[in-house]
């Protein structure tokens, strides 16, 4: 794509760009500032660009709250389960969606999308009944299953577009040169889709890690980190709240940086 912005246009464009950058970076910066700036800084306005009396006290205080480490463990358990289930169910469904032209494919896609329209919060209430009956109440497994229903539509649609991006002729070449359908999938399609699948898995992980409502409703003592912090932090001083928010962002941001190229591909946007 060639760019030929006129000079006036270019200025306008750079301003917009700056505003958009600010819109994502400023919150992160403010949260980081709140987290390490101590209680005094929160109420000051305008804030200094770099806090003088910065300290890691709030972060340390935060990590010392009883139960943070076990809650982290539950979070990881639920997120890993959500990731595994999303991949195991999402890949075959996505492959079917991408490769087979069947009547009702459109209706099927529609249903997958419709799950996005469920107000999870409201549905989570009646669902607790079912979870108690199945013995999944107040366990990371139950939270992971619940989060899978959130992550699965993404996993299906994203892996479908991954498989659609792999020319069918690669598979056909594999069949002609001696592969069965299963070996062709394992030897040719899967290796080509793997980076994208990894990105999908990590996206499922992040969704589960950040989800707080279902996790709060479905657990009492075995809370995930986000849900646990929510209940604890409501009564904490503001700078500790910032510290909690800051620490929760860290793994997500790390993950997204690790898989950034594949995330773009996931959204159908080729990185230049």
């Amino acid at each position: 794509m060639s760019a030929r912005p006129g000079t006036g246009r270019r200025t306008l464009f750079l301003c917009g760009l700056g505003a958009l950058c600010a819109w994502t970076l400023v919150p992160i910066y403010l949260i980081a500032l709140g987290a390490i700036g101590g209680p005094g800084l929160i109420s000051r306005w305008p804030k200094p660009f770099w806090p003088e009396g910065s300290s890691l006290a709030a972060l340390r205080y935060f990590l010392d709250i009883a139960g943070v480490w076990s809650a982290t463990l539950y979070s990881v358990e639920a997120a890993v389960l959500c990731m595994a289930l999303s991949i195991l169910l999402g890949i075959p469904a996505g492959y079917a969606l991408a490769r087979f032209a069947f009547r009702g494919a459109v209706a099927f896609r529609l249903m997958v999308l419709m799950t996005r329209a469920f107000p999870v919060a409201i549905l989570a209430l009646p669902l607790t009944v079912g979870f108690i009956r199945l013995g999944l109440y107040d366990s990371p497994v139950g939270v992971g299953v619940m989060h899978t229903t959130l992550a699965l539509p993404f996993a299906v649609l994203v892996s479908a577009s991954l498989f659609q991006a792999i020319p069918h002729e690669f598979e056909e070449a594999a069949w002609v040169f001696g592969c069965s359908r299963v070996t062709a999938f394992l030897r040719v399609v899967l290796p080509l889709a793997l980076p994208g699948i990894a990105a999908t898995a990590i996206f499922a992980f992040v969704i589960s890690w950040n989800e707080v409502f279902a996790a709060s409703v479905l657990t009492v003592r075995h809370r995930t980190l986000t849900a646990y912090l929510l209940s604890v932090l409501a009564e904490s001083p503001l700078h500790v709240q910032f510290a909690g928010g800051f620490l929760l962002i860290v793994p997500s941001v790390l993950f997204i940086f690790l898989v950034r190229r594949h995330l773009f591909a996931m959204w159908g946007i080729a990185s230049k």
């Binding site: 002729e169 001696g178 592969c179 080509l192």
Partner: protein
Amino acid sequence: MADIVIDGIRKAFGPVVALESVSLRIADGEFLALLGPSGCGKTTLLRIIAGLETQTEGRVLIGGRDVSDLPPRKRGLAMVFQNYAVFPHLTVRENVAFGLRMAGADAVRVDRQVARAAELLHIEPYLTRYPAQLSGGQRQRVAVARALAVEPAVLLMDEPLSNLDALLRLEMRAELKGVLQSAGTTTVYVTHDQTEAMGLADRIAVLHSGRIEQIDTPAALYRHPRTRFVGGFVGSPPMNFLTVQTASGQTMLDGLTLAAPGRERVVLGVRPEDLEPAESGLAFTVRVAEPMGSHTLLTGEALGQPVRIVAPSDWRPAPGERMFVRPRPDRIVWLDPETGAALEEHLA
């Protein structure tokens, strides 16, 4: 090495009929081109031979064995795809070795046959590279080497040169013909490019809306098209067709009288290079003259119908100029104006 028998193959995609009852026999070691415009069913027929598509009716026999219901891997064939389909996650060496490994060949045999195929296609320097590091022409060679490495009884090719530029296509065409002549593999080659089919094939099957219009050697197809479609599709520029009136076995074309079949109206078919300038004869009005280097292509009208003439390169008539031409009598084809079929009574 094996012959291929296509026996009454019919293929329908829902209500759309792609092929209607196609039968043909490809001899052992023969090079057959399936030629036709897009949508004529040529690729569908190739994919049915490969087993990538299931026929609605009919049978496919390879080397006398009915393979109609076998999956592709059990049909003993290799294929070169239009977009090459060279596996991007494998090196060139592993791509070429893919079929042999899947067949469980031992390491010595794999090495020997990969080396032979690589030598034949001149891709030894790239064996350790990945396909993304190769040009289109090099990838094309890898795809052919992968197909030849398994020493297939039957080689199928689906427009393998269509993604190359003109010069490379010309080169690869001669090279492919040389390589396949010495290998003696039975080859089915799909193309929409009539020069490719003419240059490469022993015989050409011209397909049109799911039917075979004519199967013949390139020369016979060019000189004696059996239908108007074949005459118009094979040859560039295409054959000229003039609808003329006849009377008592003759037709009058301006100042020219020709013996013609005994019908009221017939179509006279003549190739643009077989219309020779003359002192008198068919009157031709030039509309556009295109100097092509080796010749000049004239587009214009005769008898109120569009006509093209391939004239010597030193001819430069101006638009609107009138001239006379005569068709070479031994190069005329007579066709039925309704069905478009060649009139056999006149050929005999």
